[in-house]
């Protein structure tokens, strides 16, 4: 089993926690309270690498740090994105500012972490609010009191896509409410991380197999200790 550290960043109320909960518990809460500090969750997925190496399924476990988007918790973020393998930078497609915030996060990540190993995934959330679904006229009637239903798209797919391409980010528009695209994100990240670490993992695996320890295969990804007092951010 592989373990990866994954962190969610983005402006407040763009739906970071909703995405995580959709992924981890496959639930959606209309009235989610805003996150305090950073919440920890974990979930495993299985990927099917087709590299011709026996096509063995690989289980990947994500340690997910869901950070709070509010400004006052900003000082916590470095602790969690440091040594992360992947970062999900989330924005709300109905909120113009949130993309700018997302850009700031991407800049900060690139400055502080360096993007050699880090997979950054730009996510536009809440596509359900702007989808032209058949029979959509009935929905506003049902939820008359809620503002959310009247919202219009403020950030076009093209704009975000172009930005993601410029910065070399993965990009997808998703909906935590409908679950649209959520599974795919983590699958994609898992595959990408597996690809980048494949050689390292396989060599370790081989060494362990050759070493005669056939019963259990235990793989630890090499991550620098987070307690290193000489590291820059402590």
């Amino acid at each position: 089993m592989l373990q990866f550290k994954l962190v969610l960043l983005g402006d407040s109320s763009v739906g970071k926690s909703s995405i995580v909960h959709r992924f981890v518990k496959d639930t959606f809460d209309e009235l989610r309270e805003s996150t305090i500090g950073a919440a920890f969750l974990s979930q495993s997925i299985t990927i099917h690498p087709n590299d011709g190496n026996g096509a063995k399924d690989v289980v990947i476990k994500f340690e997910i740090w869901d950070t709070a988007g509010q400004e006052r918790y900003k000082s916590l973020a470095p602790m969690y994105y440091r040594n992360a393998n992947a970062a999900l930078v989330v924005y709300d497609i109905t909120q113009e500012d949130s993309l700018q915030k997302a850009r700031n996060w991407v800049d900060e990540l690139k400055n502080k972490v360096g993007d050699d190993d880090l997979v950054i995934y730009l996510l536009g959330n809440k596509v359900d609010l702007c989808q032209d679904m058949p029979g959509s006229e009935t929905i506003p009637e049902l939820n008359e009191g809620e503002d959310d239903e009247q919202k219009v798209r403020a950030i076009s797919t093209e704009e975000a896509k172009q930005y993601a391409q410029e910065q070399g980010l993965l990009f997808r528009e998703v909906s935590a409410k409908t679950g649209d695209g959520i599974k795919e994100i983590f699958q994609e990240i898992g595959e990408k991380l597996y690809d980048s670490k494949k050689d390292e993992i396989l060599s370790k695996q081989n060494r362990q197999i050759n070493g005669g320890n056939n019963g259990q295969v235990d793989i630890h990804l090499q991550r620098p200790s987070t307690n290193d007092p000489t590291s820059c951010c402590s």
Partner: protein, 515 residues
């Protein structure tokens, strides 16, 4: 010096000659050398010659002594320096107020009548203390002042008028020359006889505008005084007619394009406009000496520059000056109230400084620190502006040095205040426990090395960290119940990290954290 018209150095009365002044000095001010009219504090002198000379007047001349302070051996002290009076340092009464002084502190002499009142006309000279000397009517520290501003302005206006007339003359010549040259150019431009006619017509016009100096009469350049020769040729300035050289280094004279000249002095009544009439294409230029150039154009360029909006570092410097003024007016207020507070607390250690004045003090201090921050930010911005030339670079450097020195000088007392206050707070703590919180509050307001803003930010971070620490702890408890041991390892790692960070922030905050 005009000996015909001398005035008395003491009362400024005018006299026709020195004899009259001398007589006046003798009579009015008592400078007569023959007659010992100087009243003396020295009893030996007083008993001496004048007494013998005027034995009859002796009774009348005795100065009032009833107000004199009695000398008590070993007890009386000099009123100026406080030393015990003795024979060594002398002991004398001020003849006016009667107080006792040592020899050194009775330096002045004033005129007194017999009842020891100041009498500049008929009184006699007696020793007096500095206080009485200064307090006498009509005294001022700087002597008599004469206002000569009016005379100065008179002389100055004559000079100015001369200069203005000269400038007007040059400007008139300049306009005539330019108008004439352009009309000649327009007349012959394009025609066949252009080359033939232009030069002669032009030099004819130039000579009517101003008479040219005779070549042979001049041997030296009018500006740089270099002797002319084969290599240094003579040239005429077309405005003043003087002969100047054409040395490139000295810049004594220059041929300047007519379009440049017209646009540089566009307020003059030219018949042509630099842009409208296409003067930019006119291949004419006029030789001007550096004197005429500075006369006509320097003033114009200056006023143009002044009108232009400030750019780059100058705008920044102006706002720096404004902040500087704010700091300069606030700092004394702050120091005064702080001193007052300090004196109050030292005089009466039991009494706690009231919260109102403390708050006021903290408010002023905050404002000051804010101004200093702004000042240093502006300085940094100013330094980061790309200099346009060498001079601006130099300016930037000097401003940087001056600003750094200023901030260091002014902000040190501001930041070292708690050091002054802390020993006091310890003292009061020993005396009485109950005013401890108040004193602590005072020292808390004077936060040592951190500005209020930094402290706020650090406190916020500490709060967030503690919250998160609690959250993780409770998550660990939950996970323990669920037996999810692998996650607990990760969480424990994070908890450790959080705790070390909390420790770091707390040590940074020092006494300013939460207690």
């Amino acid at each position: 010096m005009d000996l015909e018209n001398v005035s008395c150095p003491i009362c400024l009365k005018k006299f026709d000659n020195l004899q009259a002044l001398n007589a006046h000095l003798d009579v009015e001010h008592g400078f007569n050398d023959n007659e010992d009219s100087l009243g003396s504090n020295d009893s030996r002198l007083a008993n001496g010659k004048p007494k013998k000379a005027d034995p009859n007047d002796n009774k009348v001349q005795k100065l009032k002594r009833s107000h004199w302070e009695r000398l008590q051996k070993g007890k009386s002290r000099c009123h100026a320096c406080g030393r015990t009076l003795s024979n060594d340092i002398g002991a004398t009464n001020c003849r006016k107020c009667g107080k006792l002084y040592c020899r050194r502190h009775l330096p002045n002499m004033i005129k007194l009548d017999l009842s020891a009142q100041y009498d500049p006309k008929h009184g006699k000279w007696y020793n007096s203390c500095h206080d009485c000397f200064v307090k006498r009517p009509g005294y001022n520290d700087y002597g008599e002042a004469i206002d000569l501003t009016r005379e100065f302005f008179k002389v100055r206006s004559i000079k100015k008028e001369d200069k203005n007339l000269r400038l007007l003359q040059l400007e008139n010549r300049f306009v005539r020359l330019v108008n004439g040259l352009i009309s000649i150019y327009k007349k012959y431009n394009g025609s066949i006889i252009y080359n033939l006619k232009m030069n002669s017509e032009m030099s004819k016009l130039e000579r009517t505008v101003t008479p040219w100096r005779e070549d042979r009469s001049v041997l030296l350049c009018n500006v740089c005084s270099e002797p002319f020769g084969l290599l240094l040729r003579k040239h005429h300035c077309r405005l003043c007619g003087m002969i100047v050289c054409d040395d490139a280094n000295m810049n004594c004279s220059n041929r300047i394009n007519i379009a440049c000249l017209v646009s540089a002095a566009s307020d003059l009544p030219f018949e042509y406009d630099a842009q409208k009439d296409g003067l930019l294409d006119v291949p004419l230029s006029i030789r001007l000496c550096s004197h005429c150039i500075s006369m006509i154009f320097v003033g114009r360029k200056f006023s143009k520059d002044v009108e232009m909006p400030l750019s780059g570092i100058f705008a920044k410097y102006e706002s720096m000056q404004n902040i500087f003024k704010v700091i300069d007016s606030l700092l004394p207020v702050f120091e005064d109230s702080l001193n007052k507070l300090k004196v109050e607390t030292t005089n009466d250690p039991k009494k706690a400084p009231d919260a109102k004045s403390l708050n006021e003090l903290a408010r002023v201090r905050n404002k000051l620190l804010g101004s200093f921050n702004l000042y240093s930010t502006l300085t940094r911005q100013l330094i980061s502006v790309e200099p346009r030339n060498q001079i601006e670079k130099q300016l930037q450097n000097s401003i940087k040095i001056a600003s750094a020195a200023y901030i260091n000088e002014k902000i040190l007392p501001l930041k070292s205040l708690p050091a002054i206050l802390n020993p006091e707070s310890q003292k009061t703590n020993n005396n009485g426990r109950k005013d401890e919180p108040e004193v602590k509050k005072l020292s808390q307001l004077m936060i040592e090395n951190l500005t209020i803003k930094e402290v706020k930010e650090l406190r916020q971070e500490l709060m967030v960290l503690k919250e998160q620490c609690y959250l993780i702890e409770s998550t660990i408890q939950d996970y323990k119940k669920q037996r999810r041991l692998e996650e607990i390892v990760t969480l424990n790692k994070n908890l450790e990290e959080l705790r070390s960070r909390i420790h770091a922030v707390q040590s940074k905050l020092g006494d300013n954290g939460f207690n």
